[in-house]
Amino acid sequence: MILDTNRKQNDSFAPTESENRDIPDDIWSKCGRCGEILLNKDLIKNHKVCQCGFHHRLTAPERIQMTLDNGSFREKDAGLLPVNPFDLADYAGKLVDARNKSGLNEVVVYGEGTIDKWPVVVVVMDTNFMMASMGTVAGEKITRAIELAATTGKSLIIFTASGGARMQEGILSLMQMAKTVEALGRLSNAGQLYITVITDPTTGGVSASFAALGDIILAEPDAMIGFTGPRVIEQTIRQKLPEGFQRAEFFKQHGFIDKIVPRPLMKETLAKILALHLQGVR
């Protein structure tokens, strides 16, 4: 894997709970669902999936490592920095924090690589950067990735995750939805394959734009998906939402997801789908 920025080595995927304060989080983690204490090196070996089945969120570098052929990834536009179009002081502060927390310049990491030797353009969104909200730079990078797939004739895979459009960039964030969708329309008309992999959580303006438009839509187990977040719905309708509402299994049942794929099987599933589309390309 080649990442062309000064990335901080990711050393923590500890869940947000503060209970595990006395556990050094570079060695141990606590499962976000069953509470089991897990050795990080074992967890990584198991794709950060706990024995109970809980899929811990991945950083972008971890996702790339687990999905693409070793050493095949060439990142593009890693140097693009976030913009603050309305010069908001609190937003500027958040961007600095996000950068420190994630080791990334922005939410989206994209580039070219191979999966089981099939050439792909891959996009990964990292929730450690402001809950992977989509501002102008994220929208621009995703659009460039789509255009790169179009010009190179490669298949496109986007691992979606996002709290939604980035509010601090106002109308400019909103318009990234239209921008990415338009570019996908062109890619589709060119007869090229686009696979969406929905990961936890994919909501708001990201769910309602490129995430919804894959030729094939895969999801990780239990991933939260939806346009409006559960808290806002509960506040609006003043009732508690049913168990499992807006999870990947729920949307599969309602007809919006093709297949739920546990993470350890993701790479081989993607390879199988690519092979069915690309026979003869490799």
Binding site: V137, A208, T228
Partner: protein
Amino acid sequence: MAVTLEFERPIQELEDKINELRRFSREKGIDLSNEIAILEKRVGEVMRSVYSNLDTWQHVLIARHPERPNTDDYIKYIFDDFVELHGDRCFGDDPAVMGGIGRFHGRAVTIIGQLKGKDTNENLARNFGMAHPEGYRKAVRLMQQAEKFKRPVICFIDTPGAYPGIGAEERGQFEAIANSMLVMSALKVPIITVVIGEGFSGGALGIGVGDRILMQEHSIYSVITPEGYASILWKDSSRAREAAEAIRIIARDIQELGVADKIIPEPLGGAHKDQEAAAEMLDEVLAETLDELVGIKLEDLLSQRYEKFRSIGNIE
């Protein structure tokens, strides 16, 4: 019952006084035309000074004024022979989205608009202009029909957002919005979208992809309502006014940011002060915009539409 906004009050008071003098003059047969003329002049001055210095929040209040003309009003004023068409052919008919066909300056067009009510009952019936997936799917059906019959499409945006509810999510609100934008991005007829009140979130943009984005002078457009912004980012929805100022949501700003193509003037005081005049001003700009678009070769139209959105937030 007329609704008077806080900053409209001095104007309203002067207008009330003028009406009172008129009545008095009529009843008592006393000539008060001089006094009335002085007050009328004063009203004009106050209005010009108030409305040339509106702050962001005052724009928000005008954009959301309960008497502001809605999609239904503009359809009545501007289009002839309107035939409303219902349903998404899939699940139901969304009352928050009105659609149909009509004639505009002699040309058949398809009209789609989000529709808010004017009072509580109407608003409850229309979900405050917040669409369900079937609203976006109805819009898509009507747009594809427009394409088949080579009719231009005119969309009116007026919504605080898509409806946040269980049914809306179950039936794939996210997919409905995404697909509507996808269809609009490549529809082979001209599309004009007009923000006539408030346009917020993907709920607004779901019918907002087109060749031209027009905004009425006092309309507002952004990624989320100021209340939503303040409550999510600051955990305090009472700071909505501050949020509105921070993220620049008024028509003039949206044009400056390269999103809105044209601003449609409104009568002094806002569209609710004189609905018919507002409709005429809208009609005029729509007509000239449509004339321009039908003259563009389809291939160029589509590539210009692509470039329009492609260039928003372009990073070098």
